[in-house]
Symmetry: D2
Subunit: 394 residues, 4 copies
Amino acid sequence: MTTRLRVAIIGTGFMGRMHAHAWRTAPRFFDLSPAPEAALLVGSDAARTDAAAAAFGIPEASDDWRAAIARDDIDIVDICTPGHTHAEIALAALSAGKHVLCEKPLANDVADADRMAAAAEDAASRGIVSMCGFSYRRTPALSLAKRLIDDGRVGEIRHVRAQYLQDWLTNPDAPFTWRLDRDRAGSGALGDIGAHSIDTAQWLAGSAITGVSATLRTFVASRPRLDERVGLGGHGAPGAPHERVTVDDAAAFTATFENGALGVFEATRMAAGHRNANRIEINGDRGSIAFDFSFMNELQFHDAQLPAGEQGFRRIDATEPEHPYAGAWWPAGHGLGYEHLFTHQSVDFVRAIAGGTAPQPGFADAARVQRVLAAVEASAADESRYTAVEGARS
Amino acid sequence: MTTRLRVAIIGTGFMGRMHAHAWRTAPRFFDLSPAPEAALLVGSDAARTDAAAAAFGIPEASDDWRAAIARDDIDIVDICTPGHTHAEIALAALSAGKHVLCEKPLANDVADADRMAAAAEDAASRGIVSMCGFSYRRTPALSLAKRLIDDGRVGEIRHVRAQYLQDWLTNPDAPFTWRLDRDRAGSGALGDIGAHSIDTAQWLAGSAITGVSATLRTFVASRPRLDERVGLGGHGAPGAPHERVTVDDAAAFTATFENGALGVFEATRMAAGHRNANRIEINGDRGSIAFDFSFMNELQFHDAQLPAGEQGFRRIDATEPEHPYAGAWWPAGHGLGYEHLFTHQSVDFVRAIAGGTAPQPGFADAARVQRVLAAVEASAADESRYTAVEGARS
Amino acid sequence: MTTRLRVAIIGTGFMGRMHAHAWRTAPRFFDLSPAPEAALLVGSDAARTDAAAAAFGIPEASDDWRAAIARDDIDIVDICTPGHTHAEIALAALSAGKHVLCEKPLANDVADADRMAAAAEDAASRGIVSMCGFSYRRTPALSLAKRLIDDGRVGEIRHVRAQYLQDWLTNPDAPFTWRLDRDRAGSGALGDIGAHSIDTAQWLAGSAITGVSATLRTFVASRPRLDERVGLGGHGAPGAPHERVTVDDAAAFTATFENGALGVFEATRMAAGHRNANRIEINGDRGSIAFDFSFMNELQFHDAQLPAGEQGFRRIDATEPEHPYAGAWWPAGHGLGYEHLFTHQSVDFVRAIAGGTAPQPGFADAARVQRVLAAVEASAADESRYTAVEGARS
Amino acid sequence: MTTRLRVAIIGTGFMGRMHAHAWRTAPRFFDLSPAPEAALLVGSDAARTDAAAAAFGIPEASDDWRAAIARDDIDIVDICTPGHTHAEIALAALSAGKHVLCEKPLANDVADADRMAAAAEDAASRGIVSMCGFSYRRTPALSLAKRLIDDGRVGEIRHVRAQYLQDWLTNPDAPFTWRLDRDRAGSGALGDIGAHSIDTAQWLAGSAITGVSATLRTFVASRPRLDERVGLGGHGAPGAPHERVTVDDAAAFTATFENGALGVFEATRMAAGHRNANRIEINGDRGSIAFDFSFMNELQFHDAQLPAGEQGFRRIDATEPEHPYAGAWWPAGHGLGYEHLFTHQSVDFVRAIAGGTAPQPGFADAARVQRVLAAVEASAADESRYTAVEGARS
C-alpha cells in the first residue's frame, strides 16, 4: 500500500464531479491514514475529459479506462459511468487487484450484478475491498435511525413506508433524454430512485424483501426531442419530433420482508411539487422513525415507551457530536448538504481499506437490490401477482 | 313536511352522541329552514337508552326502532348502529318514507350495499333523500381541495396517495374488542378507516377505482380479553385468556382509477405515533394538493403554473370566509375541530331535503366504496393479483 | 341554588353566540351538577336581541340588563359586551349576589379593573364566584404545558417569547371600525390580543411581569369609512372619507418577570399571512415548551434531560385521555376547535361554583394584566424607558 | 494581478478551516477567473500553524502575519482571528494594497470599525476590495428573499422579527470559555449572533436601524473552569473554581428602521432545544417572507396579492436553477449545507475583484452593524431608553 490511496475516477459527468469533491474533501475533515487523492480522471472523449479534469481539479486525464486499471500507481477505481458499463469495468478492476467503489445501480440486470458480487467475494479473500454507492446510507440522520433501530428502540418492525417523489417529468412537454430509453437506462423511476428506497429499507429494517406485488406506469408515452438551445430544464422544441418513452414514469409496490414487516413503496418522477422527496418511515411495536431528504438533517423519532401523554414525534437535529459523522463538521445546528453523503462514503471506504474490513453496502447487498427490482418488473408484467424475490428466504 | 325536521337517532354509542351534537349545533350557526331537531333516541337496551337520551339532551327514548320508523312525527332516520344492522333498518326506513342518513360503512357486504342503493334510488323518485356518512368530505380544507381540483388547478391527475394511519393496536397486549372479530366487524383497518380513504379519493379525483392489487396483514394473531376494571385504553388482564383476531390489522393496495391515475393506499392500526393521520395527496400535471387530518384546518396546495423559482407547497388555512363552510363559524385563523364535519353533514343533508336535491355521497356512491373493499379482499386472497372492481368501467 | 344554574348572557354579538354555544354544549360532554343553561339573552336593542335569542337558541330575551340582574331565577351573569361597559355590569351583578363570568379585557383601565377585583374578593367571602374569560388557558395543549412547567420539566425559566400575530389591517384600504377608535376600544392590538399573551405568559410562567420597556406603532394613520355594501371583509368605499386611527396597530415590548425571566412580546394586526398566530415559547434550564394556536391541538416540548443525541422538540398531539379536557371528547387524534376553549371555560366555572373554589383567572389576575397594559403604554410614552408594573414585586 | 489570486488566511481555528475549504471549493463549482487559491496559513504558534496547514491542505505556513502581508505573491488577506485583532491586521493589509476579507464582527468597538471603514473607502479608490464576512447573506433562500423584497413582492415593510436562538449555555454547569470574558470577546450573544441578525435585517429591509430600546441579561453569573479531560461539550470539572461571566447570555431589543418598520430582535445562548435557530421574518403590505436557518434551504413566502382563499405561506425549496447560487450545485431538491455560505462568499469576493466592483457587505456596512450594537449596549445601560444609532438618519 502506498502512503496515499490514489484514485482513478471513471466518468466525467455530474457524479464524477461529485466524487472528485468527496475525495478532495474527506481528508480535510476526517483523520484518514492513508489519505486518498483523486489522481486520474478517465472519460471516453479525450478533449472533454481533459476539460473535466481541469474543472474538477484532478491532475491527470485519460480516455482509456483499461490502461488506467493496469497502472501500478492506482489503488482505487471509482466507477461513475452509466449502469450498463459497470460490470465490465468493475470485473476488470477487481481482477487487477484494485479496490472498487461503484455507483448505483450496481448493474442493469441481475446476471451482471450476481457476477459482480461473486467477483467481489472472491477479491475480498485477497484483501480487495468493494462497495456500491448507495450514498443515502451516509446521511447522519438515517445513520442515527439505523442506530436507534439496532438498539431496539423501534422494536419489532411492522411497517416500512418508502416514497421517492420527484417531479421533473410532470410537464408532458419536458423533453426526451437517454434516461427515458430502456436500452440505455435499464428502467425509469424504479431503478433510478426506487433502488435507493429498496436499499435504505432493507438496510434500516435489517431484513431482506422476500416478495413484491407491483405496478409500473408510463403516463406520457412520448416526448419531444430536446431543444438544445434551451437545455434540459426547458421544454421540447415546438414542433420537434417525439421520441417514445420506454421506461416507467412511476412504480408502486407492496412488499413482504423476511422479518414479517409490510412494505409500501412508491417511486415517481411526476409528483408535482416534490423536487427530491426521498422519504422513509418505519413503525415498530416500540416506536417509529421517519425521514424525508427534503429535511436531510432531521430525524423524526417517536418513542412509544415514554409515558402516555408525553409521546409525540421528536425532531432530532442530527448535527451534534453524538450523531454519526456530524462531529467532524460544524457546530450543532449548522446543517450539512447533499455532498456530505459522498464525503462520508469516501471516508468509510478508505477506512475499510485501512482496517481490512468489508464496507457496507457490498456488491452482494447491491445485487439483492437488483433482484428486488427484477421481482418488481416480473410482478408488474404478471397482473401484479405476488412474486418472490430470487434467492430471498420467504 | 313539518315546520321542523324531527330526527330519530338509532344508536347510543359514540356516534349517536356525535350526531346528537351535530343536529343540535347545525341550526345555531347555519340558516336552515326547516330546522332539524333530534327528537328521539333509539337503542336496544331500554335503561341504557334512557340514560343516553338524558346525557345527549334528547327528549325521548325508545328501545324499538321499528316503532320509531312507523311514527308520523319522525322525518329523518339517522342510523348510528354497527354496520351489520344498517341494511335492515335503512330499507325499512326508506320504505316507510323517511329520509335516511346512514353511518359508514353503508353495509358489511356488497349485496346489502347494492340492495340499499337500489332502494335509495327508488325512494329518490318519491322525494325521499338518503346519504352515507363519509364525514371527512365535510372538512373545509378537503372541500377546498375538491374545488381546486374541479377548477382544473391540479390538472390531469396522475397520483393519488392515501394513508390512514392509527396506532391503537401497536401494543400486542392491547385487548381484544368486537372490532377484531370478523363476524361482527366485517373487516379491520380496511373497512373501518380504509373505506374513508377510498371514498375521499374517488370523490376528490372525480373518478372511480377500477381495479386493485392488495395485501392484508394481521400482525398480532390473538389478544387478551379486556380487563374490564381498566377500560379500553388499558391492556388485557394479566393471564387473561386470549381471543383470536379474525380481521386485518393493516391493508395496503395499489389501485387504478378510471381516469388513468395510479393510487397507493395504506390503512393500519399499528403505525406507532399516528393517532389518526388520515392523509391524502393528489398530483396532477398542473399542481398538487395534500392533506393530513392531524392538521385538519390546512390544505397544502402546490401550483405548478406559478413562475419557476416561486413554486412551493402553500399552507392554506381553510378558515376564511372564502372557504367552504368556514364563513359560518369563527374569524379566520380560529380553527375548527372534528365535530364540525358532522355539523356540516347535517347541514348538507337538511338543505338537500329542503331543496329536493340528492346529497353526496348517496347510497350508490357508498356501494361503490363497498365494491372496492370487496375487490381488495378478493385480490389479497388471490396472491395480490390485479382484481377489477365489480361494475366499474376499466 | 336551583337544580340548574341559569345563565343570563349580556351581549348579542359574536361572543354572545359563542358563550351560548358553550353553555349548551358543556353539560352534554362533561358531568356537571348542577348543569348550566343559558336562560336569558340581554341586549341593548329589543328587536335585535329577540332575533339573536332565536338564533342562539335561548328561550328568553330582554333589553334591560339591570332587570336581568335583579331576577331571582338567574344564577350566573355572563358579560359579553364591549370592555368599557364591563365594570358597571359586573359590579352590579356581584352586588346582587350573582356569579360573574366577564369577557376579557376585564376593563378598559386599571382603576375599573381594581374596583372589580376588590368587589370580586369581597363577593368571594360570600360564596360568590367570578372569573375573567382569558379563554386560551383552556386549550388542552396549553394546559398540558402548564402541567409540565409546574412539574419542573422546563426547570428554571429564562425566556418567555410571545407573539400574537394577525393581519386583518395589512391592507391600508381595510376600513375603519370602532376597534380603531381609542374612546371605544381602549387600545388596539395591545389590549385586544396582547392582553391574551400577557395573561398566558404570567399563568404559564407562574410569575408576574414586574416591568416593561415598550413601543407602540400605528402604521396607517387613517382609514376609509366602511363601504357597507361590501361588509367588513371588504375595503373602504372608493373616495370614502377617512377616519383617524387612534389606537396602536402593533405593540412590542421586553419584560422582566418576578422569577428573573426575560420576556419578549409582540402583538400586531399587520403581520401579512398570519390570521391568528397566537404563539408562546418558554425556555428553561431543563427544557422548553412552544405553542402556536394555528396548530391548537399540538404542544411542542423539548426535554433537555434526555440523553444527548436523542433530544429534539416533540410534537405532542394533546387529544388523548391523559391530556387536560381531551378525554371528554373524541378519540385521540381527532382535533378540537376554537369553541372548545369556551366550553371548557364554562365547565371550570360551573365546577368552581359547585365546589366552592375560586376559578382561574379571577378578577385579580385580570387586573394584573391590566396593570401590565398600563405600564406598556406608559413606557411607550416615555421613550421606551423601563417602567415598573404597579403593584408588582420587582 | 497574477493569473491566480493567492490568499493568505490568518487564523488557524474553526473559521480558518472553513475558509480554507471555501477557497478550495469555489473554483471547482463556479467559473472564476482568476481563480483563488489558499497559499499561506498564518497563526501565532509555529508548530500549531504547521499542523493546521497540513490538516487544511494549505501548502505553506507562517507565524508572522506582518511578513505575510508584505509578500508580493499574496493578493488576498483573509482575516479569521478573534475580533479584537481585526483592526490592526486589516489596516495593515489595506495599506499594503491587499484585498481584505474580514470575518465578523468587523471590530470590537465603533472606533475601530469606523477607522477600518475609512481605510476601506480610501483603498477602494485605489482598486482595493474589502468585505466583511456576514456569511448568512449568501444563503440561497435569503438571497431569494432579498430579490423578492427588492422586486416589491413584500411591499412597504412594517415588521422585522429576528431571533437568533442557541442553547449551548442552557446548563449552568456548562464551562467557562473566553467567549464569556468581555475583555476578549467584546460582548456575548449580542455581538456573536445578534450581529448576524442586525446585518441580515438591514440588508433585507434595505434600510438602516435608526434607534433601539434594549435589555441585556446574564442568567448565570459564574461558571466552572473547563474540565480539559472532557472537552468543550462537557461540563465544568466537579468542584472546579468558577470564573465570572462578564458578557450577556441574552439580548433583546426593539428597533426602528429608517423606512418606518418596527423591529423586534432577540439573541440568546440559553433557548433550550434551539441549536442554531437563526430566524428572520419580514411583513409588508403586499406579503411576507420568513426564514429559519434550521431549514436553510427553504424560504417561506406569503403573497398577499393572490386571490382571497388561495393565500398561505409557501415553502420554496431554494435549490433550483432559478435561485441565487443554487444552479452551480446539485439538481433541485438536493440541499446545500452551512459551508456553502462561505464558498459563495469567496465567489462573490473574487468576482468583485475581477469586476472591479464593491462587494457587499463592505466595511462601512459592517461598521453600521457595530454602531447598532453600541446603541443596544447604551440603551441597556440607560433603563432601556430609546437610543439613536450614531450616524443613522432618524
